[in-house]
Subunit: 345 residues, 2 copies
């Protein structure tokens, strides 16, 4: 029974443990723990010896064991749709900053807009015992989270509401923003206005569509089916959809784009048109002001969204926040030219 047989073969070689440090420093295990955690009650001389042994062995505390013992991981999970989407950059950054301010690490993953993958990710994070979750949901049924919520995992949904459970939600006012954006086009004389957006099963898309319809109805303009294109998001199909509504029997003179990916593609299409077509997009994007014409957008503050969510998360953890709420942040219309073009009939 050689000593080597006692340790399981893992890929870490054999990292030194507190026990090893203690042996080398000629002190007890607990004393090492005290030094590592800067607890009081250790003679400077003893502390020096321990510190020396730590440096010599290259010891690093094993947080898994610590977590197991203490019950809190000081880490939070962030589940979003796509790390590479520029919209989520400032959002994750804000969540990370807040986490950092609370001494927590951030674990994150992309759901790729797939509800199953979202659930898989969230549950994996729960198994790691993250203290809290910030979720940009892909699915619309989150009852699978009920045991977690009961167990006290703090949870905040961002950008889209939770489905079938009662949880904190931080949103942008998609409905109001879209309505204002479309009303802006109407105010500039447009009546035939197109809408291109993502699948209505995504809450924000549905809300923006609703805003579009509301603005049109407020102005007493009947909406034609040919003006609306839903569930379209990849560049090829957005291009096709835009071209369709520009050449339909009653061609649109303006387009409202439901998110920034759509907006960017529409900009390309309009760039190729002979007659000017007005455009308002939901979501701001870098360089929108440098294009000719500048792109008028309904801007939402992604960083603020993330900050608000993360702060609520930590307030849940503090215990200073108890009842779930739904917070809606206002949007802001930024006029840059494309939304103020008159209709070219």
């Amino acid at each position: 029974m050689a000593d080597t047989a006692r340790r399981p073969e893992n890929r870490y070689g054999n990292r030194p443990t507190m026990k090893d440090v203690a042996a080398r420093a000629g002190v007890g295990l607990k004393t090492v723990s005290r030094v590592v955690n800067a607890e009081p009650g250790v003679t400077p001389e003893t502390e020096r010896r321990v510190q020396e042994a730590i440096d010599a062995l290259g010891f690093r505390r094993n947080d898994s064991a610590r977590v197991l013992r203490k019950g809190s991981t000081a880490s939070i999970g962030l589940v979003l749709e796509d790390l590479a989407d520029p919209f989520y950059g400032p959002l994750s950054r804000a969540v990370e900053e807040t986490a950092r301010a609370h001494g927590a690490l951030l674990i994150n993953g992309s759901s790729a807009e797939d509800p199953d993958r979202e659930q898989e990710l969230v549950l994996a994070l729960c198994a790691r015992r993250v203290d809290g979750l910030v979720i940009i949901p892909a699915g619309d049924d989150h009852r699978y989270l009920e045991p977690e919520l009961r167990a006290g995992v703090a949870t905040v949904f961002v950008d889209r509401p939770a489905g079938r459970i009662d949880a904190d939600v931080v949103l942008s006012d998609s409905f109001g923003g879209a309505r204002d954006g479309v009303a802006h086009l109407i105010a500039h004389g447009h009546r035939r206005i197109g809408f291109i957006g993502d699948m209505p099963r995504i809450h924000t898309s549905a809300e923006r569509l609703r805003g579009y319809r509301a603005a049109m109805e407020d102005a007493g303009i009947p909406v034609e089916d040919a003006w609306m294109s839903l569930g379209v998001t990849d560049p090829e199909r957005v291009r096709h959809a835009a071209e369709e509504m520009l050449t339909s029997p009653s061609p649109v003179t303006a387009i409202f784009a439901g998110n920034n990916r759509v907006t960017v593609t529409v900009v390309r299409v309009l760039d190729e048109q002979r007659r000017p077509v007005a455009l308002v997009g939901f979501d701001d994007f870098e360089l929108a002001d440098l294009l000719r014409p500048g792109v008028t957008v309904v801007a939402q503050d992604a960083a603020q969204l993330g900050r608000t969510a993360a702060e609520r998360l930590f307030r849940q953890l503090d215990g200073t926040l108890l009842t779930p709420e739904r917070i809606e942040l206002p949007t802001r219309l930024i006029t840059r030219g494309s939304g103020e073009l008159p209709p070219a009939d």
Copy 2:
């Protein structure tokens, strides 16, 4: 001595453990473990009973304990400069995809270009016993990683090389790319060419500056100090620097921008100039083709950078990769107009 006194007060309330599940199902602890891990040797009937208890209690395995026992966390760490920088979006996405393909989670953090913060983050990740690290370094001395490397933590540096240790590195060819970009301007007749870049202590910045100098030297053009602006990255100062070199005694007729943040600001400045000034930027960015003129760039493939790094990481973990290497990915010059403007003397 109530039972409740036995459990430490943690924020998870009391989550059910395998022991609880076992008690409820009327089986042994290990049997539950077998069911949870889909190990063979459990009767369907027993499995059903256990599964029922799991669902009823909302049990979720505690991965901390599992990790402690097994030694591997199935997670990797990604340390980058700024989550919100669009350049890192595709990179993190690629790392995440690769991690996912290997069944690993991604933990990440931003160093904000601060070496201390980088070290702090990296060591925190090591304490969590991540299996591997992908690091976009902020500092230039990574000897603090030596104990970790010895302990077998797989490590790959991306975008910038490691300092004072021998480690895997995946880079873009900053020197060659910058040289080509500047040579492109020279080929279009420019001789007074400005360079605006980040601090030379950042490896990529230094390399790009070196590329600029090499191209100028190859063409026999002496470089004036007034044409170079280093360590400048925030919009205000970039603007100032650009304006300076455009109005100096020997004003530049073209600018080479050292990274995409600089490029974007320079675009704004040039947009306000009366005479046309040529521009080539390092790093591609969205919509560069839609500006007037389109912005000519030296493009690097961020996603490929991330994918290559992550794949090498997992090959290190497989044991199929043993000696550290330095890999340089080529860049690509994309001409769109701004780099082909003739000098306006």
